[in-house]
């Protein structure tokens, strides 16, 4: 205990009972909900390996989600990440050592004010680009690694503590417009770590063509103030399993983009055939460094990276991911191999009415 007490992860682990108590309280409050509104527990459990530059790391991960409606207009929801990292000891020593981690990704209350407005309060995922809000769950993202530009606009912590307004501004059969605007206070709490910042995003979606265009803006309001902006384009043609997702983000010291395509081979005998369960994935990324900045999370030199992946969707919500990446940079080229297996679960907190 003595040496662990100096480890930040130790404090995180000590908060597990607090988190569990909070979840149970919210779930109990939710029992007064309607017949279809029983609180649910969802999420994913997985095991991943990552071989980067010859060193292999193993990661068992549990990522539970709780969603509990309270009354007709309120929803309390939370997602956590609990993992143990097993990595080589290094320094000429043989064998592995490990480090635990518990992080609350978000813990927010959503008040449904009107069909066009939801007020969010608490700790939420920073709405910048698409990756943070849409693709970070381990049972959704195609690759184990996030994109290289992930730090731009998400203020490093990828979460805010404060308030957010969001919703569907307009929705017609031809197009729909969504928006989000937030303000986050500075917080140095271990579990609710955020920077003082504000920003938002807007996007327009054309359902007939499956095209979405969006723009994001964020400004850090502490220390050295800095603005970020970004654009995203998604194209998911109707009646085709092809998907193209892309993002560009710009900061004052760096910028970059990623483009990801995937195609589930469900046209070959249906989505449950042996071939139809396969999903080849490809992602291209580039980052450009304009000036040194150790806080934006991007590589210190211009970097190009190509990721080749192959996912296999088993029955009963089990998926195997594998990928090979080649990264080119003036600081050194390297190979990254990743494999993982994820099980997605979804069930009510109790039997219900």
């Amino acid at each position: 205990m003595s040496h662990l007490s100096h480890c930040p992860a130790f404090y995180a682990i000590r908060r597990i009972p607090v988190a569990v108590a909070l979840i149970v309280t919210v779930a109990l409050l939710g029992q007064y909900a309607g017949a279809q509104d029983t609180p649910l527990i969802s999420g994913g459990i997985g095991f991943f390996s990552n071989t980067n530059g010859g060193n292999t790391t193993y990661l068992p991960v549990l990522s539970p989600v709780l969603a509990a409606p309270i009354g007709p207009r309120l929803l309390v929801e939370s997602r956590a990440t609990i993992l143990e990292t097993f990595f080589p000891k290094g320094g000429g020593q043989i064998g592995y050592t490990s480090a635990p981690f518990l992080g609350i990704d978000y813990l927010q209350g959503d008040f449904l004010v009107s069909p066009h407005l939801t007020v969010v309060a608490g700790e939420f995922l920073t709405p910048f680009g698409t990756y943070n809000e849409r693709l970070t769950p381990i049972w959704i993202g195609n690759f184990e690694d996030g994109p290289l530009i992930f730090g731009l606009g998400t203020m490093n912590t990828a979460m805010g503590v404060g308030g957010m307004l969001r919703g569907s501004a307009v929705s017609t059969p031809k197009y729909s417009v969504d928006y989000a605007a937030y303000f986050s206070a500075r917080s140095t709490n271990q579990q609710f770590n955020s920077q003082r910042s504000s920003g938002g995003q807007a996007s327009i979606y054309f359902p007939e063509t499956g095209l979405e265009f969006g723009a994001s803006y964020g400004r850090r309001l502490q220390d050295t103030q800095q603005s970020f902006f970004g654009f995203h384009v998604w194209w998911e043609p109707i009646d085709s399993p092809f998907r193209l997702r892309s993002e560009y983000a710009h900061g004052e010291h760096s910028q970059g983009y990623w483009i990801e395509t995937d195609y589930r081979l469900s046209h070959f005998g249906g989505p449950t055939s042996t071939i139809g369960r396969l999903e080849p994935v490809f992602r291209m990324q580039q980052t450009f460094r304009n000036s040194p900045d150790s806080t934006d999370g991007l590589p210190s030199a211009d970097t190009q990276r190509a990721d080749f992946g192959l996912d296999y969707h088993f029955a009963h919500e089990v998926r195997i991911d594998s990928s090979y990446s080649r990264q080119f940079s003036s600081t050194g080229n390297r190979n990254v191999w990743e494999t993982g297996i994820v099980y997605r679960f979804l069930f009510p907190t109790w039997k219900g009415k």
Binding site: A33, G34, A35, Q36, D37, T38, P39, L40, A67, A68, P69, L75, E77, D110, L112, P115, T118, V120, E133, R134, P137, W139, I140, R166, G167, S168, S171, S176, D178, Y179, A180, Y205, P207, W234, I238, S240, F242, R243, T261, Y263, L265, H267, F268, P280, F282, M284, Q304, A306, H313, A315, H316, E317, R326, R344, L346, F347, P348, K351, G352, K353
Partner: protein
């Protein structure tokens, strides 16, 4: 230079694969066509719900294989916030999940 060639090859390969697969999908077998017709013959609310689900939820993740009906309202409320669902889509998806 070498990187540029690699990138160009990757993009070309991906485009070729996509075009090949799209061509194949256009020439889908008759059974697949009849499956589509059967789908179209479903009642309107289900078709609207299916459309709303594909245009909102399925853009990021696959549909869950199964779940008990008592959490369908919670799922939709969660998705309303996550995907900024309109009121019409929210109702359509709820009917789709819990017909």
């Amino acid at each position: 230079m070498r990187t540029g060639k690699l990138l160009a090859s990757c993009l070309f390969g991906a485009s070729l694969l996509f075009l090949t697969l799209q061509t194949r999908s256009l020439a889908a077998p008759a059974s697949a066509q009849s499956e589509k017709q059967d789908k179209n013959a479903r009642p309107q609310p289900v078709r609207d719900g299916d459309r709303a689900f594909r245009q909102n939820c399925a853009r990021c993740h696959n549909a869950p294989e199964s779940f008990p009906p008592q959490i369908s309202g919670t799922i939709v409320r969660h998705m309303r916030v996550r995907a900024s669902l309109s009121r019409e889509d929210e109702r359509a998806i709820l009917k789709f999940l819990n017909p």
